[in-house]
């Protein structure tokens, strides 16, 4: 059943506990408390204690790239129960720039977000903006799309910007290669990422306030992944991310790399699977042992009128919803579903941008609620049942279950019915 384990618990005197807690909080701005572990799969429930507040995992982290979450105020985000969200170093480093954000009391002060922030290093933009970038041992050279100037994003520069942003979790600058690339470039990137990790650790000015996570690379090659895991886990970082996946790779390869990674990552540190956000992927990867997730998909797709629901998605802008007077999801408790119908939202898309905001709120609510339900089911020892019900709801029939998901879950003792 659920086993409650306090990470680093000292012998049982309250004095000892107090001094351990104190020592921990001085030494590290991150404490992971494992609250429950699923006896069937590799899933865990944790409380991740960070400087601004505790984050309950498994957690989905919405992405607010430019210091804002696409039309949603920080109060709305808070009201939805969000405890941590993302900002992006590349974008914010360009506009408005680290100096200004420092003047504004960090990204927290600038956007007035009182809970936790995680910043990506800018590494992913190397892949997504590959036309504009060139990688050397020094760092990544970008040509700014705004003024054509060349910028060098080195491990030191990335960490310096993130120090100015003041995020609770910072990501190392990694040498990111698209998951569809094969050959020696993948190995080169993996080794370089290790060297860059070390440079990032040295460069971190605020190790007592800001947590630096390593990012495991190695593409879709088990040996490279394993080598990376072996090396990076030797470094004393507060958490690990699984990177280089969620690109365009085959899902069959994807899950194998995820589970390989969680097999070799320390139990008592959080595991962050980057760029994963589709509901099925989230549920499966929680079963494979991941704690934290981020993805632009829910918020991006909202702006196109796509609402996420337990049975897939609903394209509100489609004609069939023009006269549909139900809410998006009759069971959903979000502000949008409590007040508005599909028909109203469908029509509103023709008149005002607020239509997008309604869907964004719904989608964030959907994601956070999904994670809360997952967490609850693990704590109550019924995660396997939850997975069965989830899949049943999501797919019209058993033969439509994605085979990669079936395989992945089978690998952690779940036979989908």
């Amino acid at each position: 059943m659920a086993a409650a384990i306090e990470c680093g618990a000292a012998p049982n005197t309250s004095e000892n506990n107090m001094s351990v807690k104190k020592a921990l909080s001085v030494a590290s701005p991150l404490t992971l408390r494992i609250v429950a572990e699923c006896p069937v799969t590799k899933a865990r429930v944790c409380d991740l204690i960070l400087p601004h507040c505790t984050v309950n995992t498994p957690v989905f982290m919405p992405v607010g790239t430019q210091g804002t979450l696409k039309g949603i105020t920080v109060h709305q985000l808070e009201a939805l129960g969000c405890q941590i969200c993302l900002g992006n170093t590349y974008h914010l480093g360009m506009r408005p720039g680290p100096d200004l954000i420092e003047k504004a009391n960090g990204l927290h002060g600038f956007m007035n977000w009182k809970r936790n922030l995680l910043t990506d290093s800018g590494g992913f933009q190397m892949v997504s903006l590959v036309e504009l970038s060139e990688v050397t041992e020094e760092g990544v050279k970008f040509k700014s799309p705004y003024d054509g100037k060349e910028i060098l994003l080195s491990p030191e520069k990335s960490i310096s910007i993130q120090n100015s942003l003041g995020s609770d979790i910072m990501m190392q600058l990694d040498d990111v290669v698209s998951s569809t690339v094969t050959g020696p470039r993948v190995e080169e990137a993996m080794h370089r990422s290790i060297r860059w990790l070390d440079r990032c650790i040295v460069a971190n000015k605020n190790p007592h306030k800001q947590n630096l996570f390593a990012i495991i690379q190695g593409g879709l090659n088990s040996e490279l992944r394993k080598a990376c895991l072996d090396e990076m886990t030797k470094r004393d970082v507060p958490g690990f991310a699984i990177g280089g996946l969620s690109g365009g790779e085959e899902k069959d390869d994807f899950w194998r790399m995820v589970t390989l990674s969680t097999d070799h990552l320390p139990r008592e540190k959080p595991r962050y699977l980057m760029g994963v956000g589709y509901a099925v992927d989230l549920v499966v990867c929680v079963a494979l042992g991941c704690d934290m997730f981020d993805c632009v998909f829910p918020t991006r797709t909202a702006r196109f009128g796509s609402a996420l629901v337990p049975w897939g998605s609903l394209q509100v802008k489609q004609k069939q919803y023009a006269k549909d007077f139900q809410p998006i999801d009759p069971d959903c408790q979000c502000p949008t579903c409590k007040r508005h119908s599909r028909a109203y939202l469908h029509a509103l898309f023709k008149s005002d941008t607020a239509a997008m905001h309604h869907i964004t709120i719904h989608n964030i609510s959907y994601q956070l609620t999904l994670m809360r339900s997952v967490r609850q089911s693990i704590m109550e020892g019924r995660f396997p049942e939850f997975i069965q019900a989830f899949m049943k709801r999501m797919f019209p029939s058993r033969d439509q279950y994605p085979s990669w998901a079936v395989d992945a879950l089978a690998s952690v003792n779940i036979t989908l019915q």
């Binding site: 105020t73 109203y344 509103l348 008149s351 905001h357």
Partner: protein
């Protein structure tokens, strides 16, 4: 006329023209009221632009009357007919009075499509032609608490001939009579109020004629239309409104369409207007600007001078080329600051010091600047909140000034920023 309960209770009439009071008996149950002079809550299809319920309700002093327009609604007639329960319920609007106008005051329509029997509105899919029959069918489907009758107001262009103006008056009266006929026979519109629309372009005699004739009909109040062009001098506008109001019963409200700039609002209140549409904050928002003009007359004169010179410095560097293009309603006014301007990049003050709105309590100019520069949706949300709040504050101050006989003081305060800006323009020439 099927009994509506709308009643205007005036508490003061200043200098024979500016009126202060309350419009009571609004809504189906007659329990809502709206202070006058006041404005309606401008929406797109029932939604205040950019805002959802949570963000909307950070605002304290919202008008009790929500305005929707047929230009947004007409294309959804079929859906509403199937829904059956009226627009208010369809839009998830709860406790509010619903007013339905013909056009969206912030969106200029193409001209040349109006006929003797029809007017046109432009929806997202293009032009929709309305006969009185269709217009009234829409009203029966929308089920507002109050609406303006169908009108031909296409007289705002400079080149409008006298003949055309006369036609607009004739047609509008004919439309009104037809609307009222249908209204009186419609059970669905029992208790709903109708406003007649006064037209007449810029021709005094036509304005008077339109007003006199409209006043003879059993309407609950009057919309003043066709005065919204930027090319109309405020003096002329005042003259026309004054003449119109002379013909209208004192105890019925006057709603001026399409005018929202603070200086024009003040002038029109002085000419006897009671109600305005609140689309101006939206226009300011769309150009990335924030309303900042002061309407605080409690400040002592010395501090007032200091603040004026601060505002002057702030506004001074904003280049406005030569002649202000009055026709362009999208052009920035002197009542606002342009947050895209580089000077706000590291300005950590709120939009307006002392403003209690959500935006000013939680965010700084530098952040708004960043949101605008990076094209982020949140900019619109925050600016709409602030601009709406500021505008409502202005109307509140206006009512207070009327109550305390301090309208001149308010005018000086509000207009001084504008005057200084014009001076600068003349200097820069």
């Amino acid at each position: 006329m099927a009994g509506g309960r709308m009643q205007l209770e005036l508490s003061r009439v200043v200098q024979g023209r500016s009126r202060l009071g309350v419009l009571k008996g609004l809504g189906r149950t007659g329990q809502h009221s709206l202070e006058v002079p006041g404005c309606l809550l401008y929406t797109h299809f029932g939604t205040v632009p950019h805002l959802t319920q949570d963000t909307l309700h950070t605002l304290r002093n919202l008008p009790s009357v929500t305005q929707v327009t047929l230009s947004n609604i007409a294309e959804h007639q079929e859906v509403l007919e199937e829904f059956k329960d009226g627009f208010r319920k369809f839009a998830g609007l709860h406790d509010t009075v619903l007013y339905c106008s013909l056009h969206d005051p912030a969106a200029l329509c193409p001209t040349g499509y109006t006929t003797n029997k029809t007017v046109s509105v432009w929806g997202s899919g293009g032009r929709i032609e309305l006969t009185v029959a269709k217009f009234m069918a829409l009203q029966k489907t929308v089920q507002p608490d109050w609406y303006q009758s169908m009108a031909d107001g296409e007289t705002w262009q400079n080149s409008t001939s006298r003949k055309r103006v006369r036609k607009s008056v004739d047609r509008t009266l004919a439309h009104l009579d037809e609307c009222l006929l249908v209204h009186q026979k419609s059970q669905e519109l029992d208790g709903v109020e109708v406003f007649g629309v006064v037209e007449g372009g810029d021709i005094l005699e036509e304005r008077v004629r339109s007003a006199r004739e409209t006043a003879k009909r059993p309407v609950a109040g009057f919309c003043l239309d066709g005065l919204q062009t930027g090319s109309m001098d405020q003096r002329l506008r005042t003259q026309l409104i004054t003449a119109v109001n002379k013909e209208l019963p004192e105890d019925k409200p006057r709603l001026l369409q399409g005018i929202g700039r603070p200086d024009e609002v003040l002038a029109c209140v002085e000419a006897g207007v009671d109600l305005f549409e609140s689309f101006f904050p939206f226009q300011v928002t769309e150009r990335g600007c924030a309303l900042c003009f002061s309407f605080d007359i409690s400040l002592d004169p010395e501090r007032a001078v200091l603040e004026q010179s601060e505002e002057k410095d702030a506004a001074g560097d904003i280049k406005q080329n030569g002649d202000l293009n009055h026709d362009d309603q999208t052009q920035m006014t002197s009542f606002e600051i342009n947050l895209k301007d580089k000077r706000y990049q590291d300005d950590f003050k709120p939009l307006v010091e002392g403003c209690g709105c959500y935006c000013c309590k939680n965010h700084q100019r530098a952040y708004l600047h960043h949101l605008l520069v990076t094209n982020e949706l949140l900019a619109g949300v925050l600016l709409m909140i602030h601009n709406t709040s500021h505008y409502q504050g202005f109307f509140s101050a206006l009512r207070e000034a009327l109550a305390e006989d301090k309208l001149d003081l308010l005018k000086t305060r509000v207009l001084r920023a504008g005057a200084q800006q014009t001076e600068r323009d003349e200097q820069d020439g």
